[in-house]
């Protein structure tokens, strides 16, 4: 049992972090905190992918000497692409928050919903 938990520790920790991120995203009404939650979720997935390609004692697969082992390079490349996507989503989300703040003077989702309802009537 203990061995199984330690053997899959990377999965369990990544899932835990994913849950933390999702909890932050869903429970906080501050828009900036929602974006932070989104980033924690994405980081959890990156962590999982990186840990999939880890080889004990492995190096970056560049200029290897004989006898050295490399970590699996593909997951690192995937995470690099994933980070680019996460950064662009975050940048766009933050710029939206700036615009929303200019329009409504708030970054709180509940207050925003109240204002929108008021305008609708």
């Amino acid at each position: 049992m203990v061995e199984r938990i330690f053997g899959n520790l990377n999965y369990l920790l990544a899932m835990g972090l994913f849950a933390v991120g999702m909890h932050t995203l869903l429970t906080h009404s501050n828009l900036i905190k929602k974006i932070i939650g989104l980033n924690i979720m994405e980081t959890a997935v990156f962590l999982l992918i990186i840990s999939l390609g880890y080889v004990r004692g492995g190096m970056a697969p560049i200029d290897l000497q004989p006898g050295q082992v490399a970590v699996h390079p593909l997951p690192s490349a995937l995470v690099l692409t994933g980070i680019v996507i996460a950064v662009s989503t975050t940048a766009y989300a933050l710029s939206l928050v700036i615009r929303i703040h200019e329009q409504y003077g708030t970054v709180d989702a509940d207050e925003l919903a109240r204002i929108m309802r008021g305008q609708g009537q």
């Binding site: 999702m22 828009l31 999939l52 766009y92 929108m116």
Partner: protein
Amino acid sequence: MNHLPVAAVLLPLAAAFCIAFLGAMSRRLARAIAQVAVILDLIVAVLIWRTVSTAGPLAYAVGGWLPPLGIALRIDAAVASFLVLLAMVTGLVVLYAANGGGEDTSPAEGHWFWVMALVALGSMAGVLMAGDLFNLFVMVEITSIVSYGLVSVRRTGAALEASFKYLVLGGVATGMLLLATALVYGITGYLDLPMAGAAMSQALVDYPYAGMAAIGLFTIGYGVKAGLMPFHTWLPDAHSSAPVASSALLSGLVVKVNVFALFKVMLGLWGSSFGGGSPLRGVVLVLSVIAMVAGAGLAWRERDIKRMLAYSTVGHMGYIFAGFAIGSPFAVAGAMYHIVSHALMKSCLFLSAGLWVRQTGSRDVNRITGIGKQMPITTAAFAVAALGMIGFPGTNGFVSKYYIAVGALDGGIPIVAISIIASSLINGMFYLPVVIRAYLGRSRRSEIAAARVPFGRETAPGSLAVVVVLAVLIVLTGLWPGGAMAGFLAASRALLPLP
């Protein structure tokens, strides 16, 4: 080697890049580049379609690297038809927006609408062709980010709020899709869809939980992005607060590309749509039946024409999900055909409603009373598309609903066929009154006086021509479904495992 598949992605992206830099100097130049790019892309799509229909399915190794090292683009008859549809609808929407467009369509915020429409065109072509899980993920993400931008292109308060909501839900879906992709890579060791699929049966024995988690995460992730019923909450706000040209792209194409991506992943990895014997298929079937009826019911309650059309999209996504979940060749071909029908119908509805809104200055369905006398052509186009939504024989909506219903009866799931009929009746309950009121209703003087623009003639001849072309296409694909439907049937017979 034939390099057309890459051109279908790179050409719109390159044009978008040029517009982003040159558009700031001249709005007219931006508009010209956008129109030339969509026409060239349509030519590329038609050439790909001709190649595939004569030489059979096409596989293109990007950069000459074969899988598993490289990325493959795979195009069969269905994908080729969708590429033509994509180029055609995007092209028409761009022409509509470039030639006046509706009241809230004119891309007042400079050249960014063109940039985003073209990036969406390129990335959606990428989603359709991607034969590799990670390439698929990247293309889906580009499509999503551009869609958030298309919603908020006019930066009104409601659009900003809707765009943020869309982004948060889309962001959760992104995380799930990436996690699912990572799990599949972890348990099979491949990202290329056929290779991962071949390794999957053994991997499911070794790691059953990771496999099940991946199936669920893919379904929820793409379900959010495609507006499947319990995850549709972002859709009505996003699709109604965007300018109509954006709404036509989002409602007509983006959601469908995501369903097709889900279908491709399910089929590629698990060999049958929606995980074979897993309980997931039942869940998706139940959700899609609920979506068909409830989506139409929610649309019936709406008085805002754009929200009505947006909720109707939720209902019609139910048809497509149901067709794929039933999984018999007839139902799958019907679902594919419904992707085509609904893309043409919904863009026609949004664009003609945009012309109404431009004339009356209001999105209230009561305001269009009697508008059929002043704008007969626009109203006729709306009426044709509305009949298609109901599934009137002679329109393409009838053909696709018929195939899905027959597939459901063949597959021994009559409840789907029954709910298609129920949903069509509800569609009639809210589309027909709009058309009847537009043609036969008497407009009160007070309403005419309240209208911002003088009530009266057809506007924007270029945009009107686009709407008419869409209406004609709806009837043509309804009367002669032959070629495209034969392609879809052949594709779904080739894709689906024999029973």
